[in-house]
Amino acid sequence: PADTRDAAQAQVRSAPAPVTDVARLCVCDLLVAQCDTNCCCDPDCSAEDFSLFTTCSIPVVMGDSQLCSQKAAVYSLDVEANPPERIFKLIDRVNPSIFCIHSTNYEQALYLKSPEIPTAENFDELLDKFGGATFSAEPDSWNLDTDAQNSPETNETSRYEYGVPVQTEDAFLRLPSPVVSSWCSDANPAGFLVNQATKCIRSVSVEKCDSIQALSMLFYINSSILASVFQVNITVQSIVVQSVNGMRTLLSPSEVLRLPKVLDELCINAVLGVNYHITHTDTGEIIEAAAAFVLGAISREVLSIEQSFEISFTQENTQPVPLSGNPGYVVGLPVRAGFQPQGYPSPAAFLFASLALSSNKHSQLTILHSTSTQDCLAAQGARTPVLFGYNMISGCKLRITAAMKCQPLAQTLLDVLKGQSFPEYVASFGNSQAQDVLDWVPITQLHISEQMIPHTLQSSCQIPVSLGIEVKWTKYGSLVNPQARIVNVTATITSTTLKQLPSGRERIIPITSSVVFTDISSPAEPSYKAWPTINIKLPFDFFYPFV
């Protein structure tokens, strides 16, 4: 048993062997268990799928071309046959160059190096090599030379561009953030129009409470921002005090600065979070800056605290509405959804008016959020927004006892799966306005009932067990900058029959909800300019005197 265990351990410790067989390699096979369009080497495609392809995106897969002879897998489509079929050939390709590699005696010559798997023997050596904050000597650019940036030219600070560090009197507006490790680094400048939120850890001690600069409000508001010809002072917008047990209270508005001091073995008025709000004009000049603070107390045994910082930029006289893309959806931003207001007739009516668009994230398209307890009935209300391009799956477990009644259970499960306010329309583009009715796609709802026993009575209990949202999107617009556009959203609820349980028994059913994004773009068609036509007009009296 000892040697089999060692052998099993030895097997687990080596990395999986890389695939080098050209017949099995397929670079265009990106979707799992689905056929990729125009991917002739995809094993998930059937003969009918191949008959719909127009071309093979990858015509040949071959080994290292520097070898004198290598195997190549050639994929092509035979369009003459009816229906078109895929042809797969494995050929030997010969490199005619005189400097082709005939053989090598060094195994790692033509392949990437497999990483070393840590074992008890080489752990110390690997830790020395890779255990530090950086793998090699720090390049000079990490040490931000603040002195060099200390002399801003006032002419250039009049207009800020996206990403340019916001200049202040002494250096730049600092947004402490974690750099290489989780410890706060004060050398991170805030970029103009770059909304950031960072969290980092700072080491503190109650004795040095009033001497640590980063814990006092002054450190964050003492320098004023340089903007055009005058300087903008950072005002204190609000102060929230957090007590030791986590309760937060908003202080009445006043401009009083609260500096950290030691009181009863606690360090109070220590900065736990700063939220900068910068207002700018549409030409890039900063006109106002405000900071909202969260102050807290540090007790004696605490050695480090987590500080959170945020900065947001707002244009003056506007109410910011977060867009999910402009115009096409950006991967990772939430899918925007809305409702048709009550009392309006069916979508055929042209007087449609605006959809109720709200920025409240709970009336966006959301799915169930898995919780650590995994109990469907306990964690009602935890939802997570659907982000464009991210396939998600979540679920919970439902414990059914004999005493549960069918109809209320089915209604509860529907609420758990769909949430309190499941939207009816989804925005087609990331920046669709509520007034443009045609830019919104209705959500198609389907109900599938999974018949476990084919001949059960219709009156038996049907409970929904899964919600699958399939979002079909396409690439829209120009070839060089295609925009993502949602074309179709289908929400499928699958129900299953619930058999009556004998009393005292209980059953656990898994409930799942998933979101899948499918790209249904058709291949791009290039458009050409029309041939120039020769436009010759004869003078009207050309045929004088016959006409």
Binding site: C68, S97, I98, F99, C100, I101, H102, S103, T104, N105, Y106, Q108, A109
Partner: protein, 135 residues
């Protein structure tokens, strides 16, 4: 062969051609090793043995050719025998460069094959010459 001249003319010609060819072979192989170290991944632990073999072969070649010429011209079998021994060493090094180098290019195969062929022919002629001198 004339009865009063036992020196082998073909051997002399072959030794001369071998000398000229070897200079070309050495420069070409050195250039290709430099090319391989730039284009491919050639760590030091594999580069050093290959270069060492090439330079060792160059070092062996000079006395080998000198002894061959001298033995053939003075019709003495001792230098020729010594040259034959050194040829065996050169053949082994040439086989290493043909089969066990880190990267064997097609040009390497050609150069080494030609060199091996000329060594083989030379060895045959030397044995014949020694037999002629001894008897």
């Amino acid at each position: 062969n004339n009865s009063y001249q036992l020196s082998s003319l073909p051997l002399h010609i072959l030794l001369y051609v071998n000398g000229v060819y070897y200079i070309f072979y050495f420069l070409a192989t050195l250039a290709m090793i430099i090319y391989k170290s730039q284009v491919f991944s050639y760590p030091d632990e594999f580069l050093v043995p290959d270069l060492a073999v090439l330079f060792l072969m160059a070092v062996l070649e000079v006395p080998r050719l000198y002894l061959g010429f001298k033995g053939n011209l003075t019709e003495a079998e001792a230098p020729l025998g010594l040259s034959l021994g050194l040829t065996v060493g050169s053949v082994l090094l040439c086989v290493y460069l043909l089969l066990w180098q880190s990267y064997v290019l097609w040009a390497d195969v050609l150069l080494n094959a030609v060199l091996l062929a000329s060594y083989g022919l030379e060895s045959g002629l030397k044995v014949t010459a020694i037999a002629a001198f001894v008897s």
